[in-house]
């Protein structure tokens, strides 16, 4: 069973590769099966037959709020706390340390509980018989080892009573305590973790606030140098006292850490959104080769891909191909356009040459081949008619141009797809802008004519559909670029052509002038067309999705993971 559990390499453990699929209480939140809901509710006009069932191109997923995730975390914590017989806060830290892999934690803990506890920072390392005396002065430290940590152990640790054991016990009434951090001797409130490195409460508070807020760190170790003991949740809460904002941020960081450890959970990438999406079917890398897991958190506009960092719908192209295409666009587009319009290739060595002035007698800098810029033929054949090129049909120059054309073909091919890809993106944007204008007009019309609010909504629906379909079309060009030639590609392009034609027609209708006389007729036309376009879009997506499942698509480039 494959699993792409990301294991932060933790020196102390050698994780086995064959690990069981994570069984994270799937049943807890998997039965809801809230499949993507068609955003309609605008009337039966737009009903596409068979709309309620999950389509083959859609994926089962579920949106979870932060409290939902916290509940799942608590279940795990209680489970571990129960079987190990430790405090829930300790169990939570053990789980965090093990990236929430309960099975592995249980194995390791049963094997060597103290080693795991020390590594997780919930227990002190066993005391060594006699630690070597720390070097007093540092002016002459011969290099003892390659470690570049500060070698001096700062011996300014707690001089206070060692009586209070266990976590978070403010030692009240300690006389003449000087906090080793702020050097304040007037502080009476002090706190220490189990390591008894004692500091004043206000330093703890500042330290934790700084860790949480500026470093987004949820594992807070003791402030003493080289001390690995971790501040557990009750301690953090106590130290933060009334700073609820930081405490909440801390909680959020804990949830994020949990979500990042579980393959079937993903945090919503939209700014300041705290929702999580659970998608079990897209949890493995191999599943991403046969599906495009487009999901949304409980906020419908927060659409993103569960499988890759693209925060938009990139159906019908699978993540690996989409990534390849975007990379190519970033790398090549501008350059390719420029090369196409400004350069030619040397017909002998294929070096790309820009003519930056002068006559047509070119000498390739690389291979010293001499040729004519105009006809691309060898310069020698120009014979006596130097500096004027009138021999289009000379055999050598025809050959040279053919070679040129061949080398340009791949560039042309790329630009063909790229231009269409970019065009759909641009058109989608423009149609949204147009809609903003239309909307105003529709509102006016609602007041001046007999039409009801619901009846003027057809424009919004149409624009939404156009936008959505243009996004599909956009990505079909990325897909077509990488599809191998053959019947399958031809069928794909037929579907693409049908969808494109329908979308363009609908686009045109939307742009038609609105006038109270003809509005009813327009409404009918737009509505019909919208339904048709939706249908075509569905066919496109369905066919590609089935194609992935049947393994029908073959690529002309190496796709990651295939």
């Amino acid at each position: 069973m494959s699993s792409d559990y990301e294991i932060s390499d933790d020196e102390n453990y050698s994780y086995e590769e064959e690990e069981e699929e994570d069984e994270m209480e799937v049943e807890d939140y998997d039965d809801g099966s809230a499949s993507e809901i068609e955003v309609d509710g605008i009337g039966d006009d737009f009903k596409v037959p068979g709309g309620s069932e999950r389509k083959v191109y859609e994926v089962d997923y579920m949106s979870l709020s932060q409290p939902d995730v916290e509940k799942i975390m608590a279940t795990d914590v209680n489970y571990i706390s129960g079987i190990f017989g430790v405090e829930p806060a300790v169990a939570a830290q053990l789980l965090r340390h093990m990236n929430w892999n309960k099975e592995k934690l249980t194995d390791k803990y049963m094997d060597n509980a103290s080693q795991v506890s020390v590594a997780a920072g919930v227990d002190l390392p066993p005391r060594e018989p006699t630690p070597p005396p720390p070097k007093a002065s540092s002016s002459r430290q011969s290099s003892t080892g390659p470690t570049r940590t500060a070698r001096r152990s700062v011996a300014e640790t707690s001089k206070t009573s060692k009586s209070t054991k266990r976590v978070a016990s403010p030692a009240a009434g300690v006389q003449s305590f000087v906090c080793p951090i702020c050097f304040d001797d007037s502080q009476t409130e002090t706190m220490a973790l189990m390591c008894e490195h004692r500091f004043c409460s206000s330093c703890w508070k500042e330290y934790i606030t700084s860790k949480v807020r500026t470093e987004a760190e949820c594992t807070i170790t003791c402030m003493a140098e080289d001390c690995n003991i971790v501040a557990l949740d009750p301690f953090v809460k106590k130290a933060l006292t009334d700073d609820m904002e930081t405490w909440e941020r801390y909680q959020e960081l804990l949830v994020r850490q949990f979500v990042s450890c579980i393959p079937h959970l993903k945090f919503c990438p939209y700014p300041s959104c705290t929702n999580t999406v659970s998608c079990v079917s897209a949890a493995t890398k191999s599943s991403l080769l046969t599906m495009v897991p487009i999901v949304a958190c409980s906020i419908p506009t927060h659409v993103f891909c569960f499988g890759c960092p693209i925060d938009a719908d990139h159906r019908p192209v699978i993540c690996a191909v989409a990534k390849m295409w975007l990379q190519k666009c970033r790398d090549d587009s501008e350059t390719a356009n420029w090369i196409k319009s400004n350069t030619k290739e040397c017909s002998k060595c294929q070096s790309t040459i820009e003519k930056n002035g002068g006559c047509n007698h070119m000498t390739c800098k690389k291979c010293k081949y001499e040729f004519c810029w105009v006809c691309m033929g060898p310069w020698s054949e120009h014979g006596t008619s130097w500096y004027s090129c009138n021999r289009y049909d000379e055999k050598a120059s025809v050959d040279a141009r053919d070679a040129q054309a061949r080398s340009r073909a791949s560039l042309e091919r790329y630009l063909h797809y790229y231009n269409r890809w970019a065009n759909h993106e641009q058109s989608a944007k423009l149609s949204m802008e147009l809609y903003a204008k239309t909307e105003k007009k529709m509102e006016e019309m609602q007041i001046t004519s007999e039409l009801t609010w619901i009846q003027v909504q057809f424009m919004k629906k149409a624009v939404d559909v156009v936008f959505k379909c243009r996004m599909t079309l956009k990505w079909t060009y990325a897909m077509a670029y990488y599809l191998s030639l053959g019947n399958e590609k031809e069928l794909f392009e037929d579907n693409q052509r049908d969808l494109e034609r329908a979308v363009e027609e609908l686009s045109e209708l939307i742009e038609a002038p609105i006038d109270p006389e003809t509005i009813m007729a327009l409404r009918q036309k737009v509505t019909d067309k919208t339904v048709y376009v939706q249908k075509r879009n569905e066919i496109m997506l369905e066919d590609t999705a089935k194609g992935y499942l049947d393994g029908r698509w073959s690529w002309n480039a190496t796709v990651d993971g295939l």
Partner: protein, 220 residues
């Protein structure tokens, strides 16, 4: 009083009172949050005899965030940028702990000079030099200590330098070809070495010092 200010003042005072240590911390201006630290080059290293100055900036949430330190004195060391003085040391980054002080951090820098870590370099060129020829690296480091950190004069250098101008090139960390290139333009060798060293010239290096710039400097 502001905890940061109290702490820094105390640290400066403690450092002043400690007469035994070679580490000193001085104010740059009125502000106690911008300081200059200095310490002696450790004995038994190419840095011995030099005095090294470090620019110290205390961040707003010191001591919960690490101090910002970089060498003012030019140092020839794999973990110190020969151009900017930036330092690659874990305690100045993620291994920082609030119990560390300015003094203990400066002492850590001192011990960094004792034990370079060329596998995690700040300055790749210097690290390469260190890896390929340690003795040649040490000659250069000693030479830099002498010219930049006020290290022992020519007599200390005598051990390493086996014969006149030839080694001067190597020790200034320069490429023979580069020196020859400008010598060919009719400049005096010593002057070429001096200028190239000052510009930290390394051919087509990151600083992108082009030939014109060097010539311009030579003509001054």
């Amino acid at each position: 009083m502001d905890a940061r200010l109290r702490r820094v003042n105390k640290e400066i005072a403690d450092c002043k009172n400690d007469k035994q240590s070679s580490v000193t911390i001085d104010l740059v201006d009125e502000s106690p949050f911008h300081l200059i630290g200095s310490f002696d080059g450790p004995e038994g290293t190419p840095y011995e005899g030099g005095r090294f100055q470090v620019d110290i900036v205390i961040p707003d949430n010191y001591p919960f965030q690490p101090v910002k330190m970089k060498f003012i004195t030019k140092v020839y060391h794999p973990n110190v940028s020969s151009a900017s003085g930036a330092i690659c040391l874990d305690i100045l980054k993620d291994a920082w702990s609030p119990v560390l002080t300015l003094k203990s951090t400066l002492i850590s820098l001192q011990s960094l000079l004792c034990s370079p870590e060329p596998r995690d370099p700040q300055d790749a060129e210097v690290a390469k030099h260190y890896m390929t020829s340690k003795s040649s690296f040490e000659d250069t480091a000693r030479y830099w200590t002498m010219i930049y950190a006020g290290g022992p004069g020519k007599e200390g250098l005598g051990k390493g330098a086996k014969g006149g101008p030839r080694d001067e090139i190597a020790m200034a960390g320069l490429d023979r070809a580069h020196v020859a290139q400008f010598e060919a333009l009719g400049f005096d060798r010593a002057k070429v070495i001096d200028v190239l060293r000052r510009l930290n010239y390394r051919g087509a290096n990151v600083a992108n010092i082009n030939d014109d710039r060097v010539v311009e400097e030579l003509l001054k």
